[in-house]
Symmetry: C2
């Protein structure tokens, strides 16, 4: 399906931005840089805005979600906005009883413990999301408009859409909340593979529709985030998880546009924590760019991917608190290793820690842009 001609990619606004070029495998003059979780908890202007508003309410308030998404672009001059949302937003909208508890994470009113629980969940039709995502699409539209009004950036800064991968959502649903080892979820995939695959297909449809809606509304790239995939062996990932991740990405893969007489698809990024063993399999589900965790050097990731895959990452968030000389050396090392890939989007190898000094992030952007 063709994107609307006014979409930032289709209109040409973001098509040649540093970020989209790098996601296409080109090497722009300057390495683009953004930070996972740049929108949110590390910024004082975010904390001020959020006072008195619950996390999911903030995600579903278009003005607030859009303003929060814009804050780090204004402050750090990063090369991408990343949509402020949460991976459980589509679960809430489809009818799942879920809340985000501060300092803990998503907590379900009811964990999936039986086939009856599962049947009740699967009775919620993912197709209803197409009509319930208006707060999200409105926030995306406001963000895209807002990006053009930020002084000091060129107006072509792309917005990255964001959704959780099916395994991570399924893990929360089965566990009922955060878990150290996701043992219940991983047990279910072995003890009842049929129930597991039904659950995974459902979460794929839910999160796929969420991601598609963001792209249709104006996001210029789509990142699928598998927080917990690193808990899986390659065999389990390939057999019990990858098919659902591919299914989720199908919702975005058919979205394309024409520029300069050529057809282009919307760039897809796939990232998971601790997934050094899974990089090639995660690329294989349909990602264009692979996000790399801080544990694996980018040149090693390039080797594991067999070459030719754009990489995103992987500053260790633990280095953000180090003296500038130490951090600078680390950033330059990441850039040097990223040079082994066809293209590189500098990012963290995990989200921005809440107590990060925002000025450190700004300084990293300045360092990269000045090279």
């Amino acid at each position: 399906m063709h994107l609307d001609s006014r979409h930032p990619l289709a209109s040409g606004l973001t098509h040649d931005s540093r970020l989209v070029r790098a996601y296409r495998g080109d090497r722009p003059d300057v390495t683009p840089v953004w930070f996972m979780r740049q929108a949110g908890r590390s910024l004082p202007e975010y904390r001020a805005l959020r006072v008195g508003t619950a996390m999911l309410d903030a995600c579903l308030n278009p003005g607030m979600a859009s303003e929060i998404t814009l804050q780090p672009v204004r402050r750090h001059k990063v090369d991408a906005a990343v949509f402020f949302s949460d991976i459980v937003v589509p679960l809430r909208l489809v009818g799942v009883d879920v809340e985000i508890v501060a300092g803990k994470g998503p907590v379900m009113g009811e964990a999936i413990r039986s086939n009856d629980d599962l049947d009740r969940l699967l009775a919620l039709d993912p197709a209803v999301l197409d009509e319930r995502l208006t707060a999200v699409t409105e926030a995306v539209a406001q963000t895209v408009a807002g990006l053009r009004r930020i002084p000091g950036i060129d107006g072509a800064t792309p917005l990255v859409g964001f959704a959780g991968a099916p395994f991570t959502l399924a893990a929360y649903l089965v566990e009922g909340g955060p878990s150290k080892d996701h043992l219940r979820a991983r047990a279910l995939m072995h003890s009842d593979p049929l129930a597991w695959s039904r659950l995974m297909a459902w979460t794929a449809d839910v999160t796929g529709r969420f991601l598609r809606a963001q792209v249709l509304a104006g996001a210029s790239a789509a990142q699928l985030f598998d927080s917990w995939a690193g808990d899986l062996s390659l065999t389990d990932y390939s057999e019990h998880v990858a098919p659902a991740s591919a299914r989720a990405l199908e919702y975005v893969k058919d979205l394309g546009y024409e520029r300069g007489g050529e057809s282009h698809s919307v760039p897809i990024v796939h990232f998971g924590v601790g997934t050094g063993e899974l990089l090639a399999a995660m690329h294989g589900v349909g990602a264009d760019t692979v996000g790399v965790d801080y544990r694996i050097p980018l040149d090693e990731a390039e080797r594991r991917l067999g070459g030719g895959v754009p990489l995103q990452g992987n500053i260790d968030p633990a280095q953000l608190a180090a003296p500038w000389e130490v951090l600078e050396r680390h950033v330059l090392d990441v850039l040097a290793r990223g040079a082994s890939a066809p293209s590189h989007v500098l990012n963290l190898g995990h989200g921005v820690p809440p107590d990060t000094d925002p000025e450190v992030l700004t300084r990293i952007v300045e360092l990269v842009h000045a090279r």
Copy 2:
């Protein structure tokens, strides 16, 4: 230093047990099997015994710790007892304010947040442990005696001693308790490497003395457990962690004995969760046998270790809840892959989950012993 001639290894009692032979790199007739965390929470007889006793009090009660250690040997007929203790026991004994909170883990009265905090900690002299570990050495002695009285086993079942690795202890001390990503600990190693190495040397001395005491009192092998090493890149592990792990193992490495005219050292096993990237480095700190997490197949671990290293592992705990046919296939697959190593001790690729049906563990032991 030579072990006492009455030590189970030196007297010959356990020297030719399946476990010790496999740890030496021999292949006994039957693959030895034991389970990490076999002593404890999954057994009803354990839960009955523990009623009204706090975790660390149970660890420091020789009769109770010894009885808990023996329970799974009686029940499952495993090829090793593993000492019931906790990695923070030596911290408590050296004077650190630490408690184990049920469902959470070790919680420190005070986290290390400043150089003053660190100085206060380092003022506690690890050498005092040699006199404060009597409850531990008494429990070990009672266990060794108790193993000879269990009907249906041959009396030569060895006891495996157990201690936490310096990084895991340091992570708890810096974080103040369990943490998802150990960001404060990992930040300290980059922001103040000198403070970090002082802390690591201290934890190495504390936990090394704890492990040594268990071996001197009668343990026939020593397992160093690095719960959180999997959070580290290979570079950080090698630079900021491995030296301290090697230092901890120095406390055991000089303990030896003579059998059949040959000198032998006490077998050392090193295991960490999610450490597929670190296997060779973890072997390099002085381990004889490397424990492998469930994420990496044993034949791949063998390849990464360059061959020649005895392996321990790696049944996925998530498979313990699967139907027997599924679990049996998985166990046989683990055994087949373990055949690529010079020798193999069957174990889990992480601890026994609390809600495991103990009969499943017994059935695994029967399956392995019947082959």
